[in-house]
């Protein structure tokens, strides 16, 4: 099992789009992180039920979406394409339904290769349905078995990249975010989250190995993106969301420690930190994911991407065609720009990287912590820590330092009412014990133990 105790990318200038020290080659010859940025598209159903009766319509919708997407991708001569199939919960609960759609997508990708020479790969992202019961049953039961069955069958059928938005630790994290309790955030992400990730990703990696496909990567979507959304709604301070983002890298890293090889899931904005640590290629999303949700990191998120994603878009009609087709077009033009900059050489690519970074980082602390310079600094703190718990504390403190320095130097705007939070978060982090066992014992008396099953997290 790999462990990461030094950075794969030390120089922020090398933490750049299109290049990873450890690129990934797919069966059809895409080299992710090998000098080309590829578009990564995801799409979903319009508002409708998914059940046995509606499955014929579900399949029709997916056929329509993939055919429109592949046609537009070919017309615009994309250099290759990653298609993500992020299932809807009923499709993970009923693997036959999930596989019905998987086959539709795989057949379409094969046909596009044969007819148009369009090289592509399918990323398969079942839902983490373990949270369908409360408290979640994380390591056994029908939900767990069906989820693994879908991974297994999709890998066997030829979905080469296996991913998930896992939820281990979310039971505590939701409450922690609302209270802006950084100790509970660290407990959720770096104790519960890491333990669950190690268990889950060991299974996913074993499935990937069996079928000669790739355990790609995870995301802290349900954690740090929830914080980002709450901050956008002005429910919690943005500085807190930025700290949560930094800490979340510790949790997402556990997938790579268990054998994942990238590209990390698109909505894991912490992927830039993980790229610095692991050297694996990463999917990112930003401005072209505005069809799915708001973010304050639309440009900076692109600075180190290896695939560039739209997150997800519903199959609804727009003036330019169905939304997934339009989204494909936007991604195609985005990656043309990245790849033209790469073709012009490191100086040109460096200019684009800096513009992407500088256009965002003065306006929001969440953007600041994703700048390559910040990612390297936070990553260095993480790999230098003795365990995930201390790594979380170190990542949080590094984020606070970066934000406080930038604010003091007038390089970063922070609303007046948020400034006091810098001190309070920092104090809370300094107050945490050195010893992980002591921390866990303390937190087990603080958190609501009825919301999770301690044994699923190797806790008492």
């Amino acid at each position: 099992m790999p462990s990461f105790n030094h950075l794969a990318i030390e120089d922020p200038a090398n933490l750049i789009f299109g290049f990873s020290p450890r690129p990934l080659v797919t069966r059809r010859g895409l080299t992710l992180g090998g000098g080309i940025v590829y578009p990564e598209i995801n799409f979903t159903l319009p508002t409708m039920f998914v059940n046995g009766e509606t499955m014929p319509e579900v399949s029709r919708q997916y056929r329509e979406m993939i055919s429109g997407v592949l046609k537009r991708a070919s017309e615009l001569s994309v250099p290759g394409l990653v298609v993500e199939f992020e299932t809807l919960p009923p499709m993970t609960e009923n693997p036959d339904w999930g596989m019905e759609v998987t086959h539709i997508l795989l057949d379409a990708l094969h046909e596009a290769d044969v007819k148009d020479g369009l090289k592509s790969v399918l990323r398969m992202t079942p839902n983490d349905t373990r949270e369908m019961v409360r408290p979640p049953v994380m390591r056994s039961g029908k939900l767990w078995e069906n989820m693994l069955e879908l991974f297994e069958r999709a890998g066997e059928a030829g979905a080469e990249l296996l991913s998930i938005e896992s939820v281990g630790g979310k039971e505590v994290n939701d409450e922690a975010l609302q209270a802006c309790d950084v100790a509970q955030v660290i407990f959720a992400l770096c104790v519960m989250g890491v333990r669950d990730m190690r268990f889950l990703w060991t299974h996913i990696r074993e499935i990937a190995d069996r079928h000669h496909v790739h355990a790609a990567g995870d995301t802290a979507c349900g954690f740090a993106n929830t914080a980002m959304v709450l901050a956008e709604q002005r429910l919690i301070p943005r500085v807190f969301a930025a700290v949560v983002r930094s800490i979340s890298a510790v949790r997402s890293l556990a997938a790579y420690e268990a054998g994942a090889v990238g590209p990390g899931k698109d909505c894991g904005y912490e992927n830039v930190i993980l790229k610095a640590i692991t050297g694996f290629p990463m999917a990112m999303e930003g401005k072209t994911a505005s069809c799915a949700h708001f973010s304050a990191v639309g440009n900076v998120a692109a600075a180190a991407c290896d695939t560039w994603s739209n997150e997800s878009v519903q199959n609804v009609r727009l003036l330019g065609g169905m939304a997934p087709t339009c989204s494909m077009e936007q991604l195609a033009y985005d990656v043309r720009l990245f790849n033209e900059a790469i073709a012009d050489g490191p100086v040109a690519a460096g200019f684009l990287q800096r513009w992407l970074v500088r256009s965002d980082i003065g306006l929001d602390p969440q953007a600041l912590v994703l700048a390559p310079e910040s990612a390297v600094q936070i990553g260095r703190e993480i790999v230098g820590a003795p365990n995930p718990y201390r790594a979380g504390v170190a990542a949080g403190l590094a984020a606070i330092d970066l934000i406080a320095d930038a604010y003091k130097d007038k390089r970063l705007q922070i609303p007046e009412r948020e400034v006091c939070w810098l001190d309070s978060i920092q104090s809370a982090l300094y107050d945490l014990p050195e010893d992980e066992t002591e921390f866990v014992d303390t937190m087990m008396d603080v958190v609501d133990r009825t919301t999770f099953r301690p044994s699923d997290y190797e806790l008492n």
Partner: protein, 211 residues
């Protein structure tokens, strides 16, 4: 007894002070209703500041916790005096959806406004909503959804609530993909775009002049 200090303690989330002032007010034979009202004023104030983007959720949470602690002390007197929350609300995230942060915030805000809130949790079936409505006889039912694919569950829940004869109960819906247009389309009584406005919307629906 001057209860403004209690109001202030609730507003600032000072649990110790709130509990102590509540105890002192009780010992001074202050009318329990007045004590309760002074707490609600504090919660209303923090709610209004939240709506004006002057404070964040954590500040509201600590105010709510201070009120909860004081209520623990006050509640026996309120019950003895026959004073109960005037309105009952049931809330839950609809079937197929597990997102509950928005729902929890609304629940907290309604409790702060002295609604008796019955939280059914997440992934709540229409049948469970009907069962709970029959048991608690609420004036308000709140339905929450985050996923576009679970929005249809709101419609089926409303249909079953209406079919069960709960026609006078007001139904409020909310969640990221929800719009007023959708609320109208599926027969909800109101749409609340965020947690803070959910209090105003609920009060308006039940004709509470405090709105």
């Amino acid at each position: 007894m001057d209860l403004s200090q209690l109001t202030e303690a609730i507003k600032t989330g000072n649990r110790k002070a709130a509990a102590q002032l509540t105890q002192e007010a009780i010992e001074a034979q202050t009318d329990p209703r007045s004590i309760l009202d002074s707490m609600i004023v504090g919660m209303d104030d923090i709610g209004a500041r939240f709506q004006r983007n002057e404070v964040f959720v954590p500040e509201m949470l600590i105010a709510a916790r201070a009120m909860k602690e004081s209520m623990f002390i006050l509640e026996p007197l309120l019950i003895a005096a026959g004073i109960r929350p005037e309105f009952t609300a049931i809330i839950g995230t609809v079937q197929g959806d597990l997102h509950d942060i928005g729902k929890n915030l609304v629940s907290m805000m309604w409790k702060g406004a002295n609604f008796n809130v019955v939280d059914l949790g997440t992934n709540v079936s229409p049948e469970r909503f009907v069962e709970a409505a029959k048991e608690h006889n609420p004036q308000i039912i709140g339905l929450s959804a985050l996923l576009t694919t679970t929005m249809p569950s709101m419609k089926s829940t409303i249909e079953q609530l209406r079919a069960a004869g709960l026609s006078t109960t007001k139904i409020i819906i909310g969640g990221a993909p929800i719009t007023q247009e959708f609320a109208t389309q599926i027969g909800a009584d109101a749409f609340a775009p965020d947690a803070a406005s959910a209090v105003e919307v609920a009060r308006h629906l039940v004709g509470n002049k405090a709105a």
